[in-house]
Symmetry: C2
Amino acid sequence: MVYKEKTANFLRKANVSVGDLISASKENVNYEGMLLDRSGNSDDEHIVLKLDNGYNIGVGIDSCEIRLIEKGKPPKIEYSKIDIGKDPNKKDILIASTGGTVSSIIDYKTGAVHPALSANDLLKAYPQLLDLANIDVKEIYSILSENMKVEYWVNIAKSIRSEIESGVDGVVVAHGTDTMHYSSAALSFILETPVPIVFTGAQKSSDRPSSDSFINLMNSIGAASSDIAEVTVCMHDTLDDSYCSLHRGTKVRKMHTSRRDTFRSINNEPLANLKDGHISSINTNNYIKRNDRELNLRSSMEPKVAIVKSFPGITDDVINLYIDNNYKGLLIEGTGLGHLPNCILKTITRGIEEGMVIAMSSQCIYGRVNMNIYSTGRELLNAGIISCEDMTPETAYVKLSWALGQSENLEEVKNIMATNIVGELNNKTSLKHFLN
Amino acid sequence: MVYKEKTANFLRKANVSVGDLISASKENVNYEGMLLDRSGNSDDEHIVLKLDNGYNIGVGIDSCEIRLIEKGKPPKIEYSKIDIGKDPNKKDILIASTGGTVSSIIDYKTGAVHPALSANDLLKAYPQLLDLANIDVKEIYSILSENMKVEYWVNIAKSIRSEIESGVDGVVVAHGTDTMHYSSAALSFILETPVPIVFTGAQKSSDRPSSDSFINLMNSIGAASSDIAEVTVCMHDTLDDSYCSLHRGTKVRKMHTSRRDTFRSINNEPLANLKDGHISSINTNNYIKRNDRELNLRSSMEPKVAIVKSFPGITDDVINLYIDNNYKGLLIEGTGLGHLPNCILKTITRGIEEGMVIAMSSQCIYGRVNMNIYSTGRELLNAGIISCEDMTPETAYVKLSWALGQSENLEEVKNIMATNIVGELNNKTSLKHFLN
């Protein structure tokens, strides 16, 4: 058992061991499941249960009560200690994990690589992966992706930078799917990279029969070994396991709560498709190639930026709140081509006059903001609102946070927002990239 | 010229006439275009210009300065005064307009039928339409659709109710596209109807060469004459003019800023397709048929309901704002299956404890909220948050406003939210309805 001091004591007091069926109650929520072991480098705050539905959850022991329901046998997970050694003919790929639960290669929700994951473990679980590359693993965070924060992006970027400096040829970032597209956009802006950085995750954890984690991981390793040196997202393209798509990290969005092909390129086509761990087709030559640019961290991010979605009952209360709380940026999800009700125009103008940068995206998701056509749009432009053109609201939000971190000169910030930095903004929109 | 007293004086003083090229300056925005005539039943506050880009805009004369650039000839628009009479073999269809500019059958943005529109005008413009039905026209509102408000929905519903009581066999609601799906959802809940109510609009105004307005209007009249007695949206299904789709008013969303096939059924297939003003195929028998239900207005709506979208930098400030401003309902756009960062869970709980109804939808748009899988979701459910299942965020927002209007008993409101009322909530989601 690798539970540490505090959690080990907690379990000992309740007289439960790994493999037992137990109940854990916390804040009026009750969980029943098998107590799982944790890996050596886990925190000392959580125990992990395997629920009946097949999912694993971590439960913080703080104000948690547990009791034994039925004694069980500890699960046998024995990893051999063989040192595989490096194959000089293969690329060195790092799998960086941003979340952590046990018993999953990639967990559905956290994007966590099994925390105990080593090259040896991988060999045991999915030996095919080691045919593709020399693989090493690093755990950066251990959080649910809905808890991802602006400052964590910076730490992830720094951590990956040091690995690239140490010579890895590509990085796979295992990440929960909920906010993966926010994070892939953030890393795109923060880290100029000479090697591929590929985000991946899974919609079903790897201990479930129909998990998508292996295919996604295998193809992500393929993408990380490729010549496409951008921050990308590699996930299933179809409901079956036939192939994955590689999406530009700034032009992708989670579009379905549960389908494995949930990630879709928005206003773009995917950069490439992958099959069996290799690129099967490339859709464009318009990408940054390996070693085309120097490694460079541009890590300053402004956290006081918010998203406000327009809706028929909106009032200016919410705009006033952010102005009065000294927010530096506001990303509006307007309607249609980028519109807001007249009743909040005056407050938008006040925000801009007081130095807030306000940018307009569209809640349509697909297409391009165009505020030149109607009088309300023109009045917004005249007030100084910025058009986010064909960026998704999520990418525009991340970019605004980043742009405000790069300069204190508001004109410069506006200029950054209007300029394509890492493929997030197409100067021309083809109408054909819709619902693909 | 049909400009009335105030606007006519205003124009006379500047020595400009209909047909002249003029400039109009207002609030630092300058417009140049040809002065258009207005219809007899217009307000006395605006003048209308045709801009170079082909669009018409109304400019309020209050604090507006105009000057003549070049004299022109007034456009010749003469409508004959022939009374067509009713054909007893055809259905009586009302076209109810919610916006108003001149020179458009349906204006791109406002969804306005030409305010001077009469059966005679229609005959002149699109005589084919009168082959389909006996058509009458009514102007309910004259607003840009981004300015649509909760209380306007109620007035539109009341106005349509009285027309149905007077015997119309179907209603086409001409509406701006920006918020059409909010309005179609609202009317679905507010008005139980024994006849079809069909929302339509256009992405390009009818005076532009490639306008979609005629095809949409023709097929909407077909839908309003059909047996599908629900509130629906009828718009182009493809980029060409081949056919329109008829979407359930609660299961549709504007998904592209500018494509004519922007409206897509979400988690559903369209009810039917239409071609040449007639239903060409019906995709389901699961719809309410003509005269299946009595006319019934359920018009109480709670305006103090807001949409809050989750994002990585969100803090509980915005939740606190709505609680402290005594909002009755909050529609959350969570990530993935319906999640929020832990840091705002406590404030969500406070809101619910203080009597706010908080409901969870997903910013993925497609799919279904499921808060049972992960601990954060369970904690939210335990705190009393409601799952919006497979409703779009926009429909869930409208429904929450309506449900809070129907009952002051919070348990009843929650029950309404969890119950399918007008096809807005499927008990089973088929994975196949994705990006169709």
